[in-house]
């Protein structure tokens, strides 16, 4: 009865708010979103219209193109400008596909070094951040001392990023290597590049890491890591871990939603940047071929 008699106020529902939200966040019409940087970036270059087929695994290859999902911090124009700057940078440096667990070498200019450049080889143990802040950490053991180096992906001092061995590990973060024996993170500085056959999927290295005895930098028994071998702890540690576990969190649908960028938005973003990215990649491949072709002639 109550429902019938009194007036209802409709609010925050249905299509209207969606529209409103889009108006708030996107300061450009859809056509502008599709080809944003045509006039701005390449100036007078006329490009052939290509129907971009964005591969579905783009979000793994270019995770930093997805914005920070925190709603309070989002602004479509800033995200767009950031993406444009990122693509500009990618035109000057080849940022290859890599994952946590890949072995990489980074050459960068360094004003402190005697020859003004350094090179660091190591395993990628962490990849963080989005946009221009994206960074990754390499780890290696040099002279029996574990050394880690953090690099910003879009830092203009980086000259070259090489992936020596492209592979994934069982976990998204390999911070436990800090508590593992040095063998697990020792890599030769003069390692050769290992090429994968064209089109092959990225292999997953199923190596299980056996940690040193405690104390550790984190309570790994509570972190639910897949790549850790038996930790060899007393029962009380596992009991406590079980007490503190939050198994319900995987059912918290909204929590998951607030941490991700929805598929529709991802498509929009990658449709915007993919043609540029693809072009850069094609150009790089051409250059590589040229190099390969030229090298022997030089030697001769």
């Amino acid at each position: 009865m109550l429902l019938k008699t009194l007036n209802f106020h409709r609010f925050k529902c249905g299509f209207a708010p969606v529209l409103r939200a889009s108006r708030l966040f996107s300061n450009s019409p859809p056509s502008d979103v599709q080809q944003p940087s045509d006039e701005s970036i390449s100036g007078k270059q006329v490009k052939p219209e290509r129907k971009s087929v964005v591969p579905s695994n783009s979000r793994f290859i270019y995770p930093e193109f997805l914005p920070d999902p925190k709603i309070e911090w989002r602004n479509s124009l800033r995200e767009k400008l950031e993406r444009m700057d990122m693509i500009q940078r990618r035109k000057h440096i080849d940022i290859p596909e890599f994952y946590v667990g890949s072995i990489m070498a980074v050459s960068s200019s360094n004003q402190h070094a005697p020859n003004k450049a350094t090179r660091f080889v190591g395993i990628c143990i962490q990849r963080l951040g989005c946009g221009l802040r994206a960074n990754f950490t390499l780890r290696n053991v040099i002279k029996h001392v574990g050394t880690e180096m953090k690099y910003q992906l879009y830092d203009p001092t980086i000259q070259k990023i090489e992936v020596l061995r492209l592979e994934k590990r069982l976990d998204d973060e390999l911070l436990y290597l800090r508590d593992a024996p040095n063998e697990y993170s020792t890599f030769d500085e003069n390692m050769e590049v290992e090429y994968l056959p064209e089109g092959a999927p990225v292999p997953v290295n199923p190596e299980m890491v056996k940690l040193k005895p405690r104390p550790w930098r984190a309570r790994w028994e509570r972190k639910n890591m897949k790549g850790l071998a038996d930790l060899g702890l007393e029962d009380r540690f596992y009991e406590r871990a079980e007490e503190l576990a939050t198994p319900w969190e995987k059912y918290d649908l909204m929590k998951q939603y607030r941490k991700t960028i929805p598929e529709e938005e991802q498509k929009e973003i990658f449709a915007e940047v993919y043609s540029e990215l693809h072009e850069v990649e094609v150009m790089r491949k051409k250059l590589k071929r040229k190099k390969v072709f030229i090298k022997p002639t030089k030697n001769v």
Partner: protein, 375 residues
């Protein structure tokens, strides 16, 4: 309900009548922790928001009203990256009462209204990374100019060093919007100048020489890369906070016999003759939601296509997507060294100039940074 309220208010005997926005006597030693005075609106401020009631219009009729709006003012369009309206009769800059006065350091230019977009890193030419804040100048137009003689604000700037200078008041609006969502009186402010209602209004004190014709568009090119600006905005509202968060006190130890006062401020006063709490003592209270000025921020880069200004540092008050006001800085050593666009910049015709950078800022179109070897 509101009717009843209104009546009850106005039927009170005059002695009991509630006064709206009367002058408040404030005693203060330090300006920053005094509660903000009750808002007394300036004369030009009119109630903006219309009651949000269901108008029970059919879809057809709603479309018709929208069509009439578009016929009167222009179609919605994206100009400089802002969804606004392609206003029919924007007064071109030819009609500006340009006095052709040469700029000199004593003249005060108008400011701009901008939206804070967030921050991201930029790099300098030496490879150093600096965080920058992005401010977008959103569809700014001059609404009204009140000459110095006529300008009589309800709250006099008692402590303002400039109050003896004959300054005029320039009203600037930002972001055009559908008049259906505002009150008639608010829209009248804009109709008088043949403009569309704006969502945001700002008041800027300007020298009479820097006055602008109503309808003049203001762009990000009003400033140049390398200039220093002041950014005024409302800080993030953090609610009632303790002294540790609000004033950065250290609190008290976690152990060693401390009970129930780990995050308390401790002593607030003296004994004896001075046995009282001095005004201005730092205590818990409401934090944020005040207007604050970030002075002397350097402009690193300007995007003319989207009217975005990058400033150095992340100290600008306010959340992402909040509104801030930009002024020429008041810091004496950072004022303009060379003449800035005066009274404001012209609308540039060439679309080629997209980004302009300050000297020594790394442009993303540049090659990788390398250093020359020592000799």
């Amino acid at each position: 309900m509101s009717k009843i309220m209104k009546r009850t208010v106005f039927d009170l005997p005059s002695s009991f009548r509630i006064t709206f926005g009367g002058p408040m006597v404030l005693q203060s030693r330090t300006a920053h922790n005094v509660r903000a005075p009750r808002i007394k609106y300036p004369l030009w401020y009119l109630q903006r928001e219309r009651a949000k009631d269901d108008q029970q219009l059919t879809g057809d009729n709603r479309a018709f009203v929208k069509e009439a709006v578009h016929d009167k003012f222009g179609m919605p369009a994206v100009i400089h990256g802002i969804s606004t309206y392609d206003v029919r009769s924007p007064l071109s800059e030819d009609s500006v009462e340009c006095l052709n006065v040469e700029w000199n350091p004593k003249l005060q230019r108008t400011g701009l209204i901008a939206r804070k977009l967030g921050n991201y890193p930029m790099w300098l030419d030496n490879g150093k990374s600096v965080l920058s804040t992005l401010l977008q100048v959103i569809d700014n137009h001059v609404i009204k100019y009140i000459p110095p003689g006529e300008f009589n604000p309800p709250r006099k700037p008692y402590s303002c060093p400039n109050h003896k200078k004959p300054l005029g008041c320039l009203l600037v609006g930002a972001e055009s919007a559908d008049p259906q969502y505002f009150t008639k009186q608010y829209c009248g402010l804009f109709y008088r100048e043949g403009m569309m209602p704006k969502k945001y209004l700002g008041r800027f004190m300007v020298s009479p020489e820097a006055a602008l014709q109503p309808g003049t568009p203001l762009l990000a090119s009003h400033f140049r890369p390398g200039d220093f600006i002041d950014v005024r905005g409302k800080t993030i509202d953090r609610g009632f906070q303790g002294v540790m968060k609000r004033h950065g006190f250290h609190g008290m130890p976690a152990t060693h016999g401390v009970t129930k006062s780990h995050r308390r401020g401790g002593n607030v006063g003296h004994g004896g003759e001075k046995g009282r709490i001095f005004p201005g003592t730092k205590m818990p209270g409401h934090m944020g939601n005040r207007y604050r000025l970030h002075k002397g921020a350097e402009i690193l880069r300007i995007n003319h296509k989207y009217n975005v200004i990058w400033i150095k540092g992340i100290a600008s008050p306010g959340k992402t997507n909040s509104i801030v006001y930009l002024y020429d800085t008041i810091l004496p050593l950072r004022k303009h060294k060379s003449p800035p666009p005066f009274p404001t910049s012209k609308v540039a015709d060439d679309d080629q100039l997209i980004d302009s950078y300050k000297e020594h800022v790394y442009k993303f179109t540049d090659q990788t940074i390398t250093y020359e070897e020592d000799k």
